[in-house]
């Protein structure tokens, strides 16, 4: 039930996860949130959500006077809302373009590196795919699992909408900017992708390595299985930084959150959620 509820919140990219807990103040030595009060609004990339939500919970337990809200929407939404001043901190799973940085005076903070895995249903016997076949599948030229060594069943394609940083990076590095078939189904977040692929025996999609879990099966690409280690060693190439952006210099709460994510505790969280720490 809890998973059900959590999934709903992330899946719809609608609900702000406002986490609140009356905590015992356990003041750490150099705590960036010391003495700060108020609310920090974060939105955008959906790969960030689980990791940042846990960070927010830790922070709010130690600092009950601080509230942190985290919403989804996709990387494009994060960048745009930060530009408009609607949120304090935007999440993006792709680097902002030069035009975006110039238009809004964006400051960019990379706090993790994430792989993007090609995922199928756990019941699917296919374990790996070549890059050429991957392109052909997403372009709609291969439409049956039999061609890939699986059972005789049509391939159900899943992709993300144009706001997705995951889509942009996967399209560039996974598909070599190849076409994505118009027949593909669209889902609106990494979590929604996981739910869709986990429920559809004939599905193929792509997902943040940090969001992937047992409910989906990761495909090896040209013989390389995706993992943070493989990304780190440069063997698995479909990877990207995870960024937080602010409009101009970050405000105190945003700055403190960035400092927390880059601190040893924050970086430990990053690793725990299946990403590569940057420090």
């Amino acid at each position: 039930m809890r998973r059900f509820l959590t999934a709903s919140a992330i899946l719809l990219s609608l609900c702000c996860l406002v986490l609140w807990s009356p905590g015992s103040a356990q003041a750490a030595g150099a705590d960036p949130f010391q003495g700060l009060t108020g609310t920090l609004h974060i939105a955008g990339g959906t790969a960030h959500i689980k990791c940042e939500t846990e960070a927010a919970r830790m922070i709010m337990r130690a600092h009950p006077q601080v509230r942190i809200t985290i919403a989804g929407g996709g990387s494009g939404v994060g960048i745009q809302q930060v530009c408009q001043g609607l949120i304090d901190l935007g999440n993006t799973g792709r680097p902002p373009t030069q035009a975006e940085i110039k238009r809004c005076g964006l400051k960019v903070y990379r706090f993790a590196v994430d792989g993007i895995a090609v995922v199928v249903n756990p019941s699917n016997p296919v374990a790996g795919i070549s890059k050429a076949d991957l392109r052909a599948v997403f372009a709609g030229r291969i439409t049956n699992w039999r061609r890939l060594g699986g059972k005789d069943a049509p391939i159900d394609l899943y992709t993300r909408d144009a706001n997705s940083g995951t889509r942009k990076v996967f399209w560039k590095k996974g598909l070599g900017k190849g076409a994505i078939s118009p027949k593909a189904n669209f889902v609106a977040s990494n979590a929604a992708m996981k739910t869709a692929v986990a429920g559809d025996p004939n599905a193929i999609g792509y997902i943040s390595l940090g969001v992937a879990d047992q409910s989906v099966k990761l495909l090896a690409i040209d013989g390389v299985a995706p993992s943070p280690q493989a990304v780190k060693e440069g063997r698995y190439r479909i990877a990207r930084g995870l960024f937080m952006v602010t409009k101009g210099e970050p405000k105190p709460l945003a700055r403190a959150f960035i400092q927390f994510m880059l601190s040893p505790r924050g970086q430990k969280l990053v690793a725990k959620h299946g990403f590569l720490p940057v420090k």
């Binding site: 059900f4 709903s8 899946l11 719809l12 609608l14 929407g73 996709g74 494009g76 939404v77 745009q80 809302q81 049509p154 159900d156 899943y158 909408d161 144009a162 706001n163 078939s181 118009p182 027949k183 593909a184 189904n185 669209f186 889902v187 609106a188 739910t195 869709a196 429920g199 559809d200 004939n202 599905a203």
Partner: protein, 285 residues
């Protein structure tokens, strides 16, 4: 009029202002949509939005799949909801014992208040896997979305239809009963002819809800960009399309397409209302 007390004058002014605001809001929205779509309507790009392919990277902004998607999803939803909604209203008026009628009425009224996202989310786990078993494919399809959308539309139809059925003059009903009419005859000869405009109004209002809803189609129809070919196809509605591309770059034609989607939806509602007015001016056939 000259004896109006200050309170009465204040009340009249206040209510007048409220009416003015309520009437001005939709006009302002139309003006806003027209203003933002205008560059696009006059740029000569317009025909390019009535094509089949949405691929902004290749300068293609075809909205036909979404227009057809809306027609399919909303049309099918109405196909399921119209007989259910009007049937339920007739049942409430003609057959249901008082207690049951009151209970059903309460349930239907409650249903109007349930956010559509709740239906969509429940269907994601309850209906989508069954549709996958039934139709094959992913389970996300126009049919899936239309079935759930029908649940949203039925209460609107039922509530309006019941009210109009009960507005059929009591005397006509009693006269029919006195002449020995059974319920079937009462229904066919008195209620339906007497309330037909009201029933059409109910259907039109229901179809407005079906066309306007976003989340059910967004979460259940699959959102594919291909032209839908059957009810088992994955499809995207205009409203889903707005939700999916809303955040893209403000200066891009993709973003302008959002306004065109909005304008099309608005014009559809406008056409419905105008059609309704014309209809209400007519005598029954």
């Amino acid at each position: 009029m000259s004896q109006d007390t200050p309170q009465e004058r204040a009340l009249r002014a206040g209510l007048g202002l409220a009416a003015l605001l309520a009437a001005a809001a939709p006009l302002m929205i139309l003006a806003f949509l027209a203003y933002f779509s205008w560059p696009l309507l006059t740029s000569g790009l317009l025909p390019r939005f009535f094509t089949q392919t949405w691929n902004p990277a290749a300068q293609q902004w075809g909205l036909l799949p979404m227009m057809l998607g809306t027609v399919w999803v909303a049309g099918l939803a109405m196909l399921w909801a119209a007989p259910l909604g009007i049937g339920l209203a007739l049942h409430l008026v003609l057959f249901a014992p008082r207690g049951l009628a009151r209970l059903l009425q309460a349930v239907v009224e409650f249903m109007t208040g349930i956010p559509t996202v709740v239906y969509a989310f429940a269907a994601l786990f309850l209906l989508v896997p069954r549709m996958r078993g039934l139709l094959g494919g992913s389970g996300f399809s126009i049919l899936t979305a239309s079935l759930v959308l029908a649940l949203v539309v039925v209460p609107t139809i039922t509530l309006v239809a019941r009210e109009r059925l009960e507005a059929v003059p009591r005397r006509q009903v009693q006269a029919a009963l006195a002449a020995g009419a059974d319920r079937w005859q009462l229904c066919r000869r008195v209620l339906l002819p007497g309330a037909w405009k009201g029933l059409v109004t109910a259907l039109v209002l229901g179809s407005g809800r079906a066309v306007g809803d976003t989340l059910i189609a967004l979460m259940l129809a699959g959102n594919s960009l291909a032209l839908p070919t059957s009810w088992a196809s994955s499809g995207r509605t205009l409203t889903s399309h707005i939700a999916l591309i809303f955040a893209a770059d403000f200066a891009s034609p993709s973003f302008k397409a959002v306004f065109l989607c909005g304008l099309i939806l608005f014009l559809y509602s406008l056409a419905l209302v105008v059609g309704l007015r014309l209809l209400q001016g007519r005598r029954r056939p």
